[in-house]
């Protein structure tokens, strides 16, 4: 740094909480042994804000103050733990309630089953990898990446084999995307069935995925991108899960062969070492333990395109190849199974997403849908990723029904249950994107309800 660099370019705490004159005074007074000035100056700076009303939930005790303030705790008076005590750190022991969970009775086995992410306890848009929802069809494996291979064949000039090393040598991308199971909120099609947002909406997660665009790998193999309109993706685990992927989504550059998730490698439960990322499309297409893609001119009618993940209409016809996850949102706090601590201010917070692009707006109602206010969208607002919304609310202790309604960049407005059932009936399973209602009772307890 040049000696004539003006002061103030570098900000170091705590000196710059004070202006230059104050600091000069601090130094000179300190030299005189009058260090009390420093505290006074800081206290003065802090007092600039408005006076805080004491929260009712933290009343002043008989000792004239909060014992947690008056009596210094152990951690303020002792020596803490050292670095690298835990080589791969874990959440606080007080966070033990934040777990992904099975829904009792939903499946008879744990290997062909699902666990739900605890949306009620998450902030922002990123799902911690250890809390990412799981859906396995034949159990999960922790596969040795040095023995895993990826193959491209079908309508290609050169069928190719890649090692994981080779995939990781190629130019990479990192992008945030949500992954939602097509069966998220499935149990609520006909009526309320589960108590909390973990079980109603917890088959969604959002991560930063890192990998190679699938189009790069197809180009290397000399794929016929014009006539090869459909691509089969196939997993390497017991069920060797398969799904048909649209070529137009691959040539757009969006579909990715991913190895990274939230800065680390994929978790084994999420497909380590390779999984397909198919933005905006239901999770079953994001094939885990990805071993092969095949280029062809017809869709493949795989098990999860011909028996499951289809939408039954009231006339007995199934909509087949319904892959896209339409615009949807849910308030995560306050939400079902929670109890509000007291009347007064709350930040209603939730998640919105669309398989068709960005979320444009989210409206929130606290009177069951009669009146709505637009929520604040928290940055970043990304295409085919979760978007966090927040809105202020002062709870007066009276019953309230909280709803959120998302609108995406195509102008599509999230439907009500009545609208959805009018076209698809109540016997459908997949792609339930209806507006969710949470009933705040006078006791403060919140319940999952559906409104007529």
């Amino acid at each position: 740094m040049k000696p004539d660099t003006p002061h103030g370019r570098l900000r170091k705490a705590p000196e710059h909480f004070l202006n230059a004159h104050q600091w000069q005074t601090v130094v000179s007074e300190w030299r005189l042994g009058r260090r009390g000035f420093f505290e006074k100056a800081l206290a003065g700076a802090l007092a600039g804000g408005s006076a805080l009303a004491l929260a009712q939930t933290n009343p002043v005790g008989p000792e004239g103050g909060d014992p947690h303030i008056l009596n210094l705790p152990e951690h303020a008076k002792g020596l803490g733990l050292g670095v690298a005590t835990d080589g791969y750190g874990k959440p606080s022991r007080f966070e033990a309630n934040v777990q992904r969970r099975q829904s009792p009775g939903l499946t008879q086995t744990t290997q062909a089953s699902v666990s739900f992410a605890p949306l009620q306890s998450l902030f922002g848009i990123v799902t911690p990898s250890g809390l990412h929802f799981e859906r396995h069809h034949q159990g999960w494996w922790d596969i040795d990446p040095s023995k895993h291979r990826f193959m491209v064949n079908g309508w290609v000039q050169k069928p190719l084999v890649f090692t994981v090393d080779e995939i990781m040598r190629l130019p990479s991308q990192s992008r945030f995307h949500f992954i939602e199971c097509g069966a998220n909120t499935a149990v609520e099609w006909a009526q309320v069935a589960v108590p909390t947002v973990q079980y109603t909406h917890g088959m969604i997660s959002c991560s930063e995925f890192t990998g190679v665009p699938l189009i790069t790998l197809l180009e290397m193999a000399g794929a016929d991108l014009k006539n090869g309109r459909f691509v089969l993706a196939e997993g390497g685990e017991g069920s060797s899960m398969t799904r048909t992927i649209p070529m137009s989504l691959i040539t757009s550059g969006e579909v990715m062969v991913a190895y990274g998730q939230n800065g680390e490698m994929l978790r084994p439960e999420n497909g380590y070492p390779l999984r397909l990322v198919v933005p905006g499309v239901q999770g079953v297409s994001w094939v885990k333990y990805l071993r092969r893609v095949e280029v062809g001119d017809q869709p493949y009618a795989t098990k999860d395109e011909a028996i499951h993940y289809m939408d039954l209409l009231p006339n007995g016809t199934h909509r087949q190849y319904t892959s896209l996850q339409e615009c949807k949102s849910v308030v995560t706090t306050p939400s079902g199974g929670q109890v509000l601590l007291d009347q007064g201010f709350y930040n209603i917070s939730g998640l919105a997403w669309s398989g068709r692009g960005k979320v444009k707006r989210v409206d929130v109602s606290v009177d069951g849908g009669r009146n709505w206010r637009s929520a604040r969208l928290q940055s970043p607002v990304l295409s085919k990723a979760l978007t966090r919304f927040n809105i202020d609310w002062v709870w007066d202790g009276k019953p309230a029904i909280i709803q959120s309604r998302a609108i995406d960049e195509t102008g599509f407005v999230q439907p009500t249950y009545a609208q959805l059932r009018a076209v698809r009936g109540t016997r459908s399973i997949y792609h339930n994107n209806a507006i969710q209602s949470w009933w705040v009772q006078e006791s403060g307890e919140v319940k999952n309800v559906q409104v007529a």
């Binding site: 309630n97 050169k158 060797s240 649209p246 550059g253 011909a306 087949q320 398989g355 007529a452």
Partner: protein
């Protein structure tokens, strides 16, 4: 940004843009992995299997999960059932239109026979996938089709006649791709508008919100205690679903003034005070057994429990010993009494 990628894709990078990365797959490698069978039966290996052979394989390897007749609901949803000879003629399964029909079996929904062959071949039996021979797969499929009135017995299903059998699949005409939920243009012209069209009304919207559906009280604790499924800090807590609804005033007041409840609270405070909870979770094994498990085993035996706490022990719950605990007799007795009455909250 994504559109730019698309433009590059159309230009087709030269195949040698990344020298030293990837190699040609050999014919035997492709053969080992390329096992998919498409709806037009592309990929189907030559072979044959009879209904009778299929029944033998089924009873040995499939029936444990799916039931002898594919009807079982014990492990997976029923595979067989719900289709009729009329469905086979029409190509539509009538029971799919009935809201009172309790089940939707695989054979009721399936339009493409290839799917059945492909999935059994790649993923069955569930605990030993890819262990069936090609002819065994044909045989199992033949048996399932026979149970569904698609083929008679005796019948041999083979690569020669499978396309004809496809023309008898009960729900072969039951599918549509006329919807806006395929994220591409591969189908040509199909419905491009979503099937719902909500509008964003903001004020005095035409709705009179009435709660039409909520969980019945008996299901309140069906997903476990929601108190333990929420963070311990923040604007809300999880509802204690072991107690009656907090909105029912009688229950709330009763719990608050009950002397027993106060005793429970005091005992649980002692657990923390004397570090019992370092090794014993309330409902979860940590180093030692869960306190609720201890309470079950020593129900009503407060005297035994006092001795256990004061003297320690080993062997009842495993090899890790519990050391003798140094705490006042009164506290040990209070904890023991609380455990003996079932460790209530």
């Amino acid at each position: 940004m994504l559109m730019m990628c698309g433009a590059t894709a159309l230009a087709q990078k030269p195949a040698d843009a990344y020298p030293g990365v990837a190699r040609l797959a050999t014919a035997s490698e492709v053969a080992a992995w390329d096992i998919d069978v498409r709806a037009d039966f592309k990929g189907l290996p030559k072979g044959a299997g009879s209904v009778a052979q299929g029944q033998d394989v089924w009873e040995a390897k499939c029936a444990a999960c799916h039931g002898v007749f594919g009807e079982s609901n014990e492990v997976f949803n029923p595979v067989i059932g719900g289709v009729t000879a009329q469905d086979v003629e029409r190509g539509r399964v009538a029971n799919l239109t009935r809201s009172d029909y309790p089940s939707r079996t695989t054979l009721m929904k399936l339009a493409t026979l290839s799917t059945l062959w492909d999935y059994i071949n790649r993923a069955m039996p569930w605990n030993a996938p890819k262990s069936l021979s090609v002819n065994e797969v044909y045989a199992v499929v033949a048996y399932m089709l026979h149970l569904s009135e698609v083929v008679p017995d005796p019948f041999v299903l083979s690569d020669h006649n499978i396309a004809q059998v496809q023309q008898r699949m009960p729900n072969r005409l039951g599918m549509t791709t006329d919807h806006a939920m395929w994220p591409g243009r591969e189908w040509g012209r199909r419905a491009s508008r979503p099937d719902t069209a909500n509008t964003a009304c903001m004020k005095n919207c035409a709705t009179d919100p009435q709660v039409a559906s909520l969980l019945p009280d008996f299901a309140r604790n069906a997903h476990g205690n929601l108190r333990d499924q929420n963070r311990l800090v923040g604007p809300q807590r999880g509802a204690n679903t072991l107690l009656a609804d907090a909105s029912a005033p009688s229950a709330g007041v009763g719990a608050a003034i009950s002397p027993l409840a106060a005793g429970n609270k005091a005992s649980m405070a002692l657990l923390t005070q004397h570090n019992c909870t370092a090794c014993h979770g309330l409902e979860r094994k940590i180093v030692g057994p869960a306190l609720t498990d201890v309470a079950k085993r020593y129900n009503g035996q407060a005297d035994v429990l006092v001795v256990k706490i004061k003297s320690g022990g080993v062997g009842v719950w495993g090899p890790i010993p519990m050391p003798a605990q140094n705490l006042p007799d009164a506290d040990a007795k209070a904890i023991a009494a609380w455990l003996a009455r079932g460790a209530p909250r």
